[in-house]
Symmetry: C2
Subunit: 346 residues, 2 copies
């Protein structure tokens, strides 16, 4: 797989977004979050965000638009994206939520009417490092991906969620879809001609299959938990739809316009008065988890999201893997905008 | 299965708890929440709460003790149970959280050092009816039930969570374990000599099996999501441990004392300004879900938690099913305390 230097990726993203008309701090924020997930080895939710934003500039996204705070109370804010890119809204949401949570103990900020923010965990990692316990839940209003438990017709997007919290060392940052998998993963499997290791897809006719092409061709997938525990993913997916409605956004609506919504919930750990205890208990738990006997075929038991963070740290010095197709997509965007391409080693 | 009249169950619980020394309003609150889950058909997390509390009165529970608010800010409170029963702490948590959320938009209340609260959803249903979006996450500090994803040794209790939100009709109330199943369900399967429909248990030796006896005999179970999606349940289980530490409670510790902790997060829907929109979007989504084609063997697609609520409503007029063994347990507790037994029709 081609590899780029971490700083070259940051530089590339910054130049592309600046050329599109984003402010300096927005360009850096977006690029750093995209680079974190890319450096963590996730080809579907990392640097592709840069190309995604480029493709929408002039239609869904205006780099000069600012998200608008529609309502505000001591512990909450409601933001309308108003044509600002998802991560620009996210930056404002983080600023508001962390400031409010430091004052009141907790804050919730919901954003409606915005665009894709890619990997959710990236936005939470810095918060957990500062001592926040954070949740982020995102929804896409138009995609037909996941069926409700017991059904075969898609009613939900893949509605992802992330959770993050401090430990005595790196924070724990977990990021997952409330559907059986992200559409990025389903597309990657399908392109490689691979199947899922369990049948988690439905054909349009409603037949269960391990072939990811089924969902791409207008079928559906099971909720998170798959065939055994799908009622749990279903409940979480619907919860995210409810938060979207709370924010004035559209619940899943194949007839509507494609918009994204998200809700950020942050709790200020210091409000509870004993972060030393948190660190000591997390130290004990993470040691115990690492000492757990692994299943056959598993080298060692890791913390949630640990692999991504470990790889992200390594990639900062050793370089960041970028799939051929992603590199081509990024450089096509660069060419359209007259920006110097991203140079990779083969 | 024996059946009791709903009002007889309420009357029985009230009399038993009053005899134990609980205040009138605590007795009613505990009984009504236990009865809701029991009426919903859940034999493992309903009326058994009454017997559980009886068995701990004189050791872990003192009916006269009041939970203590250790810290408080505009949007948060930290409560130490101090020997008060779990549901008594829950009642205070709900009072504080809903009052604060109406003022600030959101509130989080964490409780440490308390006892079992049984079915979580019961406590959230009234909140969702009032217009709150609520989450409840609970932890037990000593049980060794669920392994981390990739491992075979139990590091977590079954750490349940519930979510609830308003619709245009009944609220959605979902309640599930972040392990593959509750220990109540595993015990029920084992007693009936039944297996799980998927291998989700580990023997002490670390072998995967569909036999629930494995976890009861000192093995473990997979996290929620089972073999396919266990990294998601693992992340949620660990999140609940982190919230426990935040509240000053003990993370899972087989060497420690058995205590329960829980965290309640409530968001006040009106703060976001458009509950009419919430109701209309929920009306559209619930209709769409109900119209989804069911999988073979499924009669119709239901909302999360719908079956429990429908059955609970029916049981209020037709009577509440109580398993033989549960009825015997309740009446043994009644006899110990000199309380008139619960009368059931065979």
């Amino acid at each position: 797989m081609p590899r780029v230097q971490y700083n070259d990726l940051i530089d590339f993203g910054y130049r592309l977004l600046s050329k599109l008309g984003f402010a300096e701090d927005d360009s850096l924020y977006i690029t750093e979050n995209a680079a974190f997930t890319q450096a963590g080895g996730v080809q579907t939710h990392g640097a592709v965000l840069l190309a995604n934003i480029e493709s929408q500039c002039g239609s869904s996204i205006d780099p000069k638009h600012r998200p608008k705070v529609e309502r505000e109370q001591a512990g909450m804010a409601l933001i309308d994206g108003q044509g600002a890119a998802g991560p620009v809204c996210m930056r404002l949401a983080v600023e508001l939520a962390t400031r409010k949570a430091r004052e009141t103990g907790v804050a919730v900020v919901s954003v409606r009417n915005t665009t894709w923010i890619a990997g959710l965990g990236a936005y939470l990692a810095p918060l957990a490092r500062e001592g926040f316990f954070a949740q982020l839940l995102a929804q896409s209003s138009k995609c037909l991906d996941a069926a409700p438990a017991g059904g075969v017709d898609a009613c939900f997007s893949t509605n992802p969620m992330a959770i993050a919290f401090p430990t005595d060392a790196d924070p724990v940052v977990a990021d997952f879809s409330t559907a059986a998998m992200s559409m990025g993963k389903a597309n990657t499997l399908a392109k490689a001609g691979r199947k899922s290791n369990q049948p988690v897809f439905f054909t349009k006719a409603g037949e269960l299959t391990d072939d990811p092409k089924a969902v791409i061709d207008g079928g559906a997938m099971l909720p998170a938990g798959g065939d055994f525990d799908g009622h749990k993913g279903y409940a979480l997916a619907f919860w995210i739809e409810a938060l979207t409605a709370m924010a004035g956004g559209s619940c899943n609506n194949p007839a509507g316009e494609q918009r994204q919504s998200f809700t950020l919930i942050v709790i200020w750990g210091e409000a509870f008065g004993n972060m030393d205890w948190v660190r000591s208990e997390m130290h004990r738990m993470t040691a115990r988890i690492h000492a757990t006997r692994p299943r056959p075929g598993v080298k060692s038991v890791r913390l949630p999201g640990e692999r991504l963070q470990t790889q992200a740290a390594r990639s900062r010095t050793e370089g960041v893997d970028i799939a051929d197709s992603l590199l081509a997509t990024l450089n096509a965007a660069a060419e359209r905008r007259g920006v110097k391409p991203l140079a990779a080693e083969a």
